[in-house]
Amino acid sequence: MTRLGRVTLGAVGVAFALGFAHAWLNLGFDPLARLGLRKDTEEKAPFRVGFLPVT
């Protein structure tokens, strides 16, 4: 593989890794749940009610 090919492949790999990490950490994408290795976390999420400590 040429040097240009390696750099292109590396750039694509880095972009993919960043996108994957962003989706996992910030966008609620759970790869383990998608692969059926874990029950969907959505079902286990607690029911949250937002409030300010005012009467």
Binding site: G50, L52, P53
Partner: protein, 272 residues
């Protein structure tokens, strides 16, 4: 899930982090007007807001506020609207004083440091200025606007569609808690301790004070949605340009859950 300021709470709600939230009534109406799929399903409480000044301020009426600095929780709050209404009743306008938006927890310190001349918000932050010895009640909000509404329970429409049973349980729980609270002073004192330590992380003495001095400083019954109440909020919000245009009551409320609380009684629970 506890927040310190209304903007943060609103953003968390919009992101879907919490499918239900207690929120300022005009803020919820404005969100709906902007196309956010949410509905008001119940009230959080009635009254329980006060306009405070420093003891040594020499401010004894709305007219004395002319040229002063006043902190409100948010422009999309009934506290902002009640100030506008009271000023208007006294021949003044919002342009006659400087209005600042400030998170309620920051208000006592701002009043103490004379960063502002007056503050208005929900309790217990107003009572804190009294207990600490430098604040004085200029008006309870209910003196300016009887049956004052501050916070309402807002839920996302997808929750109503997919889990109406959960919404009803939540509304029933609030209704039963409110009836239980207003049943006796003993209940209020028990709740003050539990809520202060478990949810609010505040001095129980402060909540005991808020819930008893006077006993109707804040009330937790009559929380069903009443169209006339919201029409008054809408009227003032339109006048103060908090809302861009009229919003039909049916568009931003779902009264089914509120109506289903008819006949619900207080929790039969007694403190051990």
């Amino acid at each position: 899930m506890r927040f310190s300021g209304w903007p943060e709470l609103k953003e968390a709600f919009l992101s879907g982090h919490n499918p239900a939230s207690f929120m300022l009534a005009p803020m919820a109406m404005a969100l709906r007007q902007q196309g956010v799929p949410v509905k008001i399903v119940y009230l959080g409480h009635r009254d329980g807001s006060a306009l405070m000044v420093r003891k040594d301020s020499g401010i004894y009426s709305m007219r004395d506020l002319k040229g002063k600095r006043l902190a409100v929780p948010n422009r999309f709050s009934n506290q902002y609207l009640v100030i506008a209404k009271a000023l208007e009743d006294n021949g003044l306008t919002l342009q006659d004083l400087t209005i600042l938006e400030m998170p309620p927890p920051d208000m006592p310190a701002a009043l103490y440091a004379k960063a502002v001349d007056a503050v208005i918000s929900g309790e217990p932050f107003m009572a804190q200025t009294e207990l600490d010895g430098y604040g004085r009640v200029l008006y309870q909000a209910k003196e300016l606007w009887p049956n004052f509404i501050s916070c309402v329970l807002v839920v996302r429409e997808d929750l109503i569609r997919d889990h109406p049973d959960q919404v009803q349980s939540l509304v029933n729980g609030i209704a039963q808690s409110g009836l239980w609270l207003d049943q006796s002073m003993n209940h209020r004192m028990t709740a003050a301790k539990a809520v202060a330590e478990t949810y609010y992380n505040q001095d129980p003495r402060l909540l005991r004070y808020v819930l008893s001095k006077p006993p109707d400083r804040v009330t937790y019954t009559k929380l069903r949605l009443v169209k006339q109440d919201f029409e008054e909020i809408e009227r003032l919000a339109l006048k103060m340009e908090v809302l861009d245009g009229p919003v039909p009551f049916d568009q931003y409320t779902d009264t089914r859950f509120s109506e289903n609380t008819t006949g619900v009684g207080p929790y039969p629970w007694e403190a051990p």
